[in-house]
């Protein structure tokens, strides 16, 4: 049985004191242990940004990629090795801005991996510019008179494209986040966890108290049915747009096969475990005969 210590490396996080990334870091490791995974059992694919350094601060099969491309890389890893769990971790600018197209298609494809988005509604690593989830009127170095772009609604977008697991967590609520990650790891298809997190350096207006005052858990609401897409969509549309932030598993269905389940070649097992030539060499003569 793996322990949180198994995930430790000699690299110390460079996040600002009080950064939401610490909470996510701890929740990830605890969830991996709770779900029974050792470091070699999981691939963590990250993008570029403060939170994308999660796998630099862990002992794990890590792939720290490009800004916006973690979902595409994670898709390649997953298709090549269905014998391992895959989790993509990246920020809101990375996932909803630069990587928006990959997000859309990964959702509709129902690729079988977890996608944890560290959504602090600002660009941290480049020092405080407006992000795709920043509120209308957000003032930053690249939007000095206030943002004219309305914020993206990632949960509603995912639900509208047939997402099969849609959740929201908070970096400040570690037990809930650990639970959400553990549940997402059990999901057969694409599992989105949008984690609203504080940025203590560049988004001070949305601090710990700001979230505490607005967030609530959908599972605590009487009769909330997370298997109903329309109910989930109504919840998803609450934020951005109002002062109430629903958290927890908004929607989940296990009735939709993951993309990779439909691939004939993978019925024989993970691609990486299959022989380089799947047939005896003489069989390949058949390919020549097609052109005789």
């Amino acid at each position: 049985m793996a322990t949180v210590q198994d995930y430790a490396v000699d690299v110390r996080p460079t996040w600002c004191p009080g950064c939401g990334d610490f909470g996510i870091w701890n929740a990830l490791k605890r969830a991996f242990v709770q779900a029974g995974y050792a470091p070699e059992d999981i691939f963590m694919v990250t993008g570029v940004g403060c939170g994308s350094k999660q796998n630099d601060y862990m002992r794990i099969n890590g792939l720290h990629t490009l800004h916006g491309r973690s979902l595409a890389v994670a898709t390649g890893v997953r298709l090549a090795n269905t014998g391992r769990k895959v989790i993509a971790v990246h920020g809101d600018g990375d996932g909803y801005g630069e990587g928006g197209n990959h997000f859309l298609h990964t959702v509709r494809r129902n690729m079988g991996f977890v996608d944890l988005v560290e959504n602090n509604q600002v660009y941290g690593l480049t020092r405080g510019q407006v992000s795709p989830t920043s509120r209308l009127g957000f003032r930053s170095s690249t939007s000095p008179t206030g943002s004219l772009d309305r914020p993206i609604n990632p949960l509603a977008l995912a639900l509208s494209q047939g997402a099969t697991f849609v959740a929201r967590g908070l970096s400040l609520d570690l037990p809930q986040l650990q639970y959400l990650i553990t549940e997402a790891l059990k999901h057969r298809g694409y599992a989105l966890i949008d984690v609203m997190q504080v940025c203590v350096s560049y988004n001070r207006a949305m601090g710990y108290d700001w979230y505490r005052e607005r967030a609530y858990k959908v599972e605590e609401q009487e009769g909330y049915d997370s298997s109903d897409r329309a109910t989930a969509m109504a919840k998803a549309l609450e934020y951005p747009g109002s002062d109430r932030i629903p958290t927890g598993i908004l929607f989940r269905t296990e009735d939709v096969p993951a993309y990779e389940e439909g691939i004939a070649t993978l019925q024989a097992g993970p691609l990486v475990d299959q022989p380089l030539r799947t047939r005896p060499l003489e069989d390949y003569e058949a390919l020549l005969s097609e052109h005789l």
């Binding site: 490396v9 690299v11 050792a38 470091p39 070699e40 059992d41 999981i42 691939f43 694919v45 570029v48 350094k53 796998n55 630099d56 002992r59 794990i60 099969n61 890590g62 792939l63 720290h64 990629t65 490009l66 491309r69 595409a72 890389v73 994670a74 898709t75 390649g76 890893v77 997953r78 298709l79 090549a80 090795n81 391992r84 197209n101 990959h102 859309l104 298609h105 691939i263 004939a264 070649t265 993978l266 024989a268 691609l271 990486v272 299959q274 022989p275 380089l276 030539r277 799947t278 047939r279 060499l281 003489e282 390949y284 003569e285 390919l287 020549l288 052109h291 005789l292």
Partner: protein, 580 residues
Amino acid sequence: MPITDISFRIGGEAGQGVESSGAGFALALTRAGLQVLGTPSYYERIRGGHNFFTIRAMSQAEPVRSLVEQVDVLIALNMETVEVHKDAVRPGGVIVADTGIEAEGALQGLNVNLLALPLKEIAVEHGNEVMANTAALAVAAAAVGLPVKYMVSVIETNFGARSKAIADANTAVAEHTYALASERFGLVYGDSLGSVEDAPPRLLLGGNVAFGMGALMSGLKFVAGYPMTPATSLLEYLAGHADEWGLVVKHAEDEIAAVNMCVGAAHAGVRALTTTSGGGFDLMVEGISLAAITENPLVIFLAQRPGPATGLATRTAQADLLMAIHSSHGEFARMVIAPHTPEEHFSAACRALNMAEKYQCLVIVLSDQQSASSFMSRDKDLFDPASLVIERGKWLNSEDLDAMEEYHRYALTDDGVSPRALPGSHPKAVFLSSGNEHREDGHITEDPAIVKAMMDKRLRKLEGLKSEVRPPLRYGPPATEVTLVSWGSSYGPVMDAVDVLNAMDKSANMVHFVDLWPFPAEAAREALSGASRLVSVEGNAMAQLAYLIRAQTGIEMDQHLLRYDGRGFTTEYILEHLEG
């Protein structure tokens, strides 16, 4: 005298089946034992617009190297074809057309024979109207004495499995028209093209398919791509064979996704490939830099067409050489090879996959529309699966890892290649691969000494790659008045031009580059120094190979013979534009 060298052109409207007719006729000629080269010329639209397909067939052991500008037999599926191509018919040649299009009027004063029959009526009588193409081809076959059985065998191949009724109707149309044309027109050249009965079995294929076959035989497991002419047919070929041959093929949402999926798959341990053309490649460029710094093997099949932007979507060019060599920010080792024949495409697939894994680097296979879309006959023996030997480079297995204190994915080594271990396969094979500069264990660093050591390590792979590149090919006598310098698909036409020049008492030879990066500078210097007059023959406007040769060897060309109108080289074009 039997006919030993004959050219056909089939023309019609887009959507009229010009390409499938041309490909079918080329296959019939191949099965008759002739060597064949067929090339379509089409516009970027699905219906409307004028398309044509040119075929040259020769009774000889050597493959056909180039098309000629003039044709002997024009098969006109519509009146526009007659008008556009009548002057390309050699004096004494023939035009096959339906009596219904009344071509006579357009041919007055020309020395050509019109072979007109009511093709549509015959097609309707024995099958249906769409079989008029079959009828037209049968007239051409009868006129040159190509036995109809070869047409029938192609019909059987193309339609037999799908529908016996369609195959039988097409056969009836072919046989009936053939008999009628033989009786009405006889052999228009007085003798028959006949068939070469003792010819070895031959394939008819283009560069894309040949590359695809080679890749399937060489352990390719993962493909992600996005359709873009002229690379699309390779993506389609691989997708069509995926389930049967153990591949995963993903039509990605865009080229950026495609290349990054390949990086992920390669990292996880499988042989990965993407296919594209210039515009799609542009989108992939950041992804290749990720492959470079994470030292993941990556093969890109880059089929060139004219740019910039959409350029000429369905035409040919050799204008992406410098892009292939220099694209992306930062500095890293890569290999660029430009196969020039179907058999070279076949072996290049295995070689590219091997080199990519051996040196954990990017390999770009640079092809073009000319090569992708042509149908070329080749002896089957040239495509021996056993000739493709898979080499995967340095890998550590479980026992190796057991014996190690710690595994470092980016260990500094003398040759710059750090042994790979399958990530997640062993408790010690757990590591980070990062797009940021990193330590030997993969974790991020900005330590100047390590940064420099890592860059030096990765660039040491260039030395290994240099030992793998092959010298340019040479053809013709050693000391000549002119040396033609070429690369890629212009190989055949340049070779024919050399032969024509030597036959005219104007001595010429050829130096042809297949491996382009790392540039084989020493071998190039040896091949080119001492030549009296150097002429680079390239399908681009800025003489990119000449630029590369000058940069790498200091040797300058005396003439740049360039073609950048979207069309491939012909021997006539080269001879016409050769100065001095």
